[in-house]
């Protein structure tokens, strides 16, 4: 087994930085190192790199360059959307609507705001992880100022009816934020079609570098500043720009715009092979998430009678990288809140396995994985006090 080549099936955790992106970033470390806020040529060189990237991202989103704020990543964009909108609009109302399956980067600031006196409604989902827009509608009160629903879930891959939820929000004059960290660069995301006012994204999820992201803010949206101490990004987010990172984000989105459709097509094939073949080869597994309304690259199964961490460790020894929502992998010893929110009992959440594909995934990766999975599961089930061979 030593010579088994490594297989990466964890693209939703992070993606490699595309070599073309690295090449585009390279000049901004030494040659064009200037501070983009400086008026001299060094600064203006760097500034041009940033504005080009802004233009590229805006074009991908069908937005205006002035509607883009560069941030340090998805977490900051989500935090900013909730906190800076809530504070700025406190006069108007004190109620936020979100869902139980959001990323912690949305849920934690929501809890913080609750401590500060905001009311938050956490809307449930179906067992496939779908939010029903009519549930959002029902939750709206005269005091609602913001609705936040993720575009696609990072664990189970379910894609939400964002456009419809956005329409409801717009009718009522409520701001609508969507965490699109998992969809940007993978499926089309047009801010006008989705009816969003705010949208979060992160470069390292679409073959850009880590530590850089953006928040789309529709023109006219009332949102407070988030970092203080400089007038970068119109004062909304002070701090010297991460020039190379932003340039990398721009290059990454440009590549995605060109390649995304073909990549998604291929990934859907691989995804569907996994979804079809895993239950063929391993008995008593359950697919988590929606069968069709899901990310092109996401597969999530619960394998009964085993635990996720021991499954991952065994796969890792075979050179296969995957992910799980098992309680044993979190320091809180709580299983994934997403798996619990879609109604999985603890013992089923325990054996969850997430596989996510990407730009460099090959048919042979999937075949190798399918080849090894049964023996790993068999080994763990032989140890399991709950398993009795049928």
């Amino acid at each position: 087994m030593e010579d088994t080549k490594k297989i990466y099936l964890d693209y939703a955790a992070t993606t490699p930085t595309d070599p073309e992106v690295i090449a585009a970033m390279q000049p901004y470390f030494f040659d064009s190192f200037g501070n983009p806020s400086s008026i001299h040529s060094f600064g203006q060189d760097a500034k041009k790199g940033i504005e080009d990237a802004r233009q590229k991202l805006a074009s991908f989103l069908g937005a205006k360059p002035a509607e883009i704020v560069f941030t340090s990543g998805g977490t900051e964009s989500d935090n900013m959307s909730l906190i800076a909108v809530a504070h700025e609009n406190a006069q108007k109302g004190n109620h936020i609507i979100t869902t139980r399956i959001e990323h912690h980067a949305v849920l934690e600031p929501a809890r913080l705001l609750q401590k500060q006196g905001m009311k938050v409604t956490y809307v449930k989902t179906s067992k496939e992880g779908l939010v029903d827009p009519s549930d959002i509608k029902k939750a709206i009160t005269a005091k609602t100022i913001l609705i936040s629903v993720m575009h696609a879930n990072n664990e189970i891959g379910t894609i939400q009816p964002i456009a419809e939820i956005g329409r409801i929000a717009r009718e009522k004059g409520i701001y609508f934020h969507s965490d699109a960290v998992q969809t940007i660069g993978h499926i089309p995301v047009k801010t006008d079609e989705l009816n969003v006012d705010l949208l979060s994204l992160s470069a390292h999820k679409f073959y850009g570098p880590k530590g850089v992201g953006a928040l789309y803010i529709r023109k006219g949206t009332r949102i407070g500043n988030y970092l203080y101490g400089g007038d970068q990004e119109n004062g909304r987010r002070a701090s010297t720009h991460n020039t190379a990172g932003i340039v990398g984000l721009g290059k990454a989105i440009e590549l995605c715009e060109k390649q995304m459709d073909a990549e998604a097509k291929l990934q859907i094939q691989l995804r569907d092979t996994l979804i079809r073949e895993i239950p063929e080869r391993v008995q008593e597994v359950v697919l988590n998430g929606h069968p069709t309304q899901r990310l092109p690259n996401n597969v999530n199964f619960s394998i009964r009678y085993i635990e996720g961490e021991s499954l991952l460790l065994n796969l890792d020894m075979l050179g296969i990288a995957a992910s799980t929502g098992s309680a044993c992998t979190s320091t809180s010893l709580e299983p994934s809140h997403v798996l619990l929110a879609i109604g999985l009992p603890h013992e089923i959440a325990h054996g969850s396995l997430r596989l996510t594909l990407g730009r460099w995934s090959k048919k042979s990766d999937v075949e190798q994985f399918l080849h090894y999975l049964p023996e790993v599961v068999e080994k763990l089930r032989a140890m399991s006090p709950l398993y009795h061979k049928k």
């Binding site: 009678y305 085993i306 635990e307 961490e309 021991s310 460790l313 065994n314 890792d316 020894m317 098992s326 309680a327 044993c328 992998t329 320091t331 010893l333 709580e334 299983p335 603890h346 013992e347 325990h350 032989a382 140890m383 399991s384 006090p385 709950l386």
Partner: protein
Amino acid sequence: MEGYSNKLMEYFLHPRNVGEIENPSGKGRVGNVVCGDIMELYIKVENNIITDAKFKTLGCGAAIATSSIVTEMVKGKTLDEALKVSNKAVVEALGGLPQHKLHCSVLAEQALKAAIEDYQSKQAGGARS
């Protein structure tokens, strides 16, 4: 994995004494209320000495490794000696455990105690009848 020693990985990947003992002298089944894991430990006792021990575990790498090593540690010991095997001794034998995995070794100690108690209560019951 981060924080797992080589010795632990060795016991996790090639666990000793996996399985059940048919008609065991004692059986202990404990669950971890915190994260929902389950451990079963079987012992065979002859002349007050544990002659065989086996386990089944649903849990993380640490849980599997600790239950495996504990079965090794008690084999050949008298019941009194086995009762003194603490989770600390188990952790030491594995070359340490990450802080958030210590509870898994507690589970191994509890499973062992439960198996011994099961044997002892059967003995007591047997003596009465």
